[in-house]
């Protein structure tokens, strides 16, 4: 069992001892949101931390901001940042370490195990509650979610409200941590890639039509890109200007930056944006599912990344986020790699 008080105590300790600059964790949101990201600087505020099935956000996304902050400061504070991670989130840390985007000493990882449950999909829960507001909820010992609404308590079986990613999770407890809360667990889901089958089984024509309908909804808010811990490029294929511009960048360089993708939210541009983003995340996506959670139009983009994760495993026996020292999928070559696709 995860004991919230233990987490608070540790958070309090590392802040008091000034071991970390601040801690990225979860706290209760305004208007009864059960969990939102929070940045805690003072030891006394460690008491505001929460741990509940609504702690769905992947907080490693904020490591990018820390890195940018340090780059801007003249005399940066190089102490590590404390961060609370679940199993999936911790794999993101490994990928960032693998890509040398951060160094191990930049983070103090408070790993929290999901044990045999996980986090709740807000939309699935809302459907179950039929419009009633969830005042609070938590797991019980029997893998049930106990929900309190204005009508009283009810229990829902975990499998009916768990986020899709949790149903296929290969890392229920963090794979990298400085301190671990809860039990180390490694349950192997029966079929990690079951969810993509329903799209794989469509004909090519049906698949094209399916994704066209989904992508035509897209308003190009880039929430999917903004929330992803691995989308940290300064020069993104979808931006018309590069943020890597300095005073020395010549006019020609700026003029020659190709507009690969127009801003217009039309089928061709939107399709290409999502496809390219998925390919750029091949071998890097750890299936935290955040991209799909944040999409305001409910576009099921997680399928794209999941499919590529399946390909990586099938073709190259490549697992993402368990080994911070492994080579990257797309920029390394082994003699035993299958060559069917290169002739």
């Amino acid at each position: 069992m995860v004991n919230l008080d233990d987490i608070k105590k540790e958070a309090h300790r590392i802040l008091k001892e000034k071991k970390v600059k601040y801690i990225i964790g979860y706290t209760q949101g305004a208007n009864g949101f059960p969990a939102v990201p929070v940045f805690i600087k003072n030891p006394e505020d460690a008491d505001n931390l929460v741990w509940n099935p609504a702690c769905i956000h992947n907080l490693t996304r904020f490591l990018r901001d820390e890195k940018k902050r340090r780059a801007r400061e003249k005399h940066p504070d190089n102490r590590p940042v404390g961060i609370i991670v679940k199993g999936c989130d911790s794999r993101a840390i490994n990928v960032l370490l693998q890509e040398k985007y951060i160094a191990r000493e930049d983070v103090f990882v408070l790993g929290v195990s999901c044990e045999d449950t996980g986090v709740v999909d807000e939309k699935k829960l809302a459907k179950k509650l039929k419009g009633k507001k969830a005042l609070c909820f938590d797991w019980d010992e029997n893998r049930n979610l106990v929900v309190t609404t204005e009508d009283g308590k009810s229990t829902i079986n975990a499998d009916e409200v768990l986020a899709e990613r949790c149903l296929e999770c290969p890392a229920q407890s963090p794979v990298v941590y400085d301190i671990l809360f809860g039990d180390k667990v490694k349950l192997s889901p029966e079929d990690r890639f079951k969810s993509v089958e329903k799209i794989e089984n469509l004909s090519q024509k049906e698949r094209w039509a399916f994704w066209k309908e989904q992508f035509d909804k897209c308003i190009r808010c880039y929430a999917c890109r903004s929330v992803c811990p691995m989308c940290y490029c300064d020069e993104c294929v979808v931006d018309t200007i590069s943020f890597a511009v300095t005073a020395d960048t010549t006019a020609e360089e700026k003029a020659q930056k190709i507009k690969w993708i127009d801003k217009s939210p039309v089928t061709s541009e939107t399709y290409i944006y999502h496809m390219i983003r998925a390919i750029h995340l091949a071998g890097r996506c750890i299936d935290c599912g955040e991209c799909e959670r944040v999409c305001p139009l409910d576009i099921p983009i997680r399928f794209l990344n999941k499919k590529l994760e399946k390909e990586a495993k099938k073709l190259f026996d490549y697992e993402v986020g368990f080994d911070p020292d492994q080579l990257s999928l797309v920029s390394s070559f082994r003699d035993e790699d299958p060559e069917d696709f290169i002739r």
């Binding site: 208007n31 808010c221 929430a223 700026k254 127009d262």
Partner: protein, 344 residues
Amino acid sequence: MQKILTKKSFPKWVANLATYQIYAPVEKDDLWSYEIVTADEITTDYPNTVLSPKKITFPQREFFLEFSQNDDGIPGVTELLPEEKESVIFGVRPCDAKGVSHMDKVFGGDFEDAYYWKRRNQVTLVGLSCNTPPSPNCFCTSVDGSPHSTDGLDVLLTDIGDRFFVQTFTKKGDRIINASKGLFTAPKPKDKTDVEKVHKDAVKAMPRSLKDTKKIPPKLKDLFEANLWDEEAMSCIQCGICTYLCPTCHCFDINDEITSHSPLEGKRVRTWDNCQFPDFTMHSSGHNPRPDKASRLRQRIMHKFQYFVEKYKNFQCIGCGRCISKCPVGIDIIQVLEKVRDHV
């Protein structure tokens, strides 16, 4: 004028508007949005749509002009004004209608935006009074709105059981009522008391509120340089959800999209743009007046609650709560403004 329309007669009224294109909120895969519908698809029971009806008069993408370049040197430029059928949008929430009214202020003024007005003049807005809050984050009464506000509407319907109380405010509104004169009857005193009760109850049921909003614009001015913005923006991930979903955000981009290089052919296109995107204000030199997310969050809040107030004496925010409901990290504009208001 004020009239009564029975719910039984409602489909007949809509059917009589066959020459108009009809928009109404419809549901697809659990999400509601304003789409072109047939009379029988119109319902009065829906939560707030993801995108407001702003997208009908101010679509996310529209053409400005077409250009071509021949060898003789002089480019051909053709204006591309939208050709839109006359439309009626049913089921507009009073807050979203107020939003349309705010957009009218922005796109009018010294330079009339020809494209916006070509669409806007073709649209008749039929509102539906909110008997119950369409969102758990509604706070329209805190920003000078109400569940039965008439600002921006041509017609307002209030559901009073088996019938609608119908009010018109403009010639456009009168026109679509008069087209079906026989279906509408004069209201009786009981109708008026029913409407008053429904309106009053709706105001009481407002789920959220922001008190003392009058204090906020001057406080914002004082707090421009405060550290407050760094703290509030810590968890912002710089996506575009709050601004793209907002019924009053009007920022846009203009780009040339080429369909042929030689000979040169293409269109100049307007698309929505977003002050939360890092490149929104970035100069070609790389200089950015709003270089970090704190300054960008500040811009959004100042625009809604101070700049617009100074210019038009109205809060630009209409209290629909979409930004609160959909923010991926739970940034709550009401909470931010409370901190501003109470800041010492």
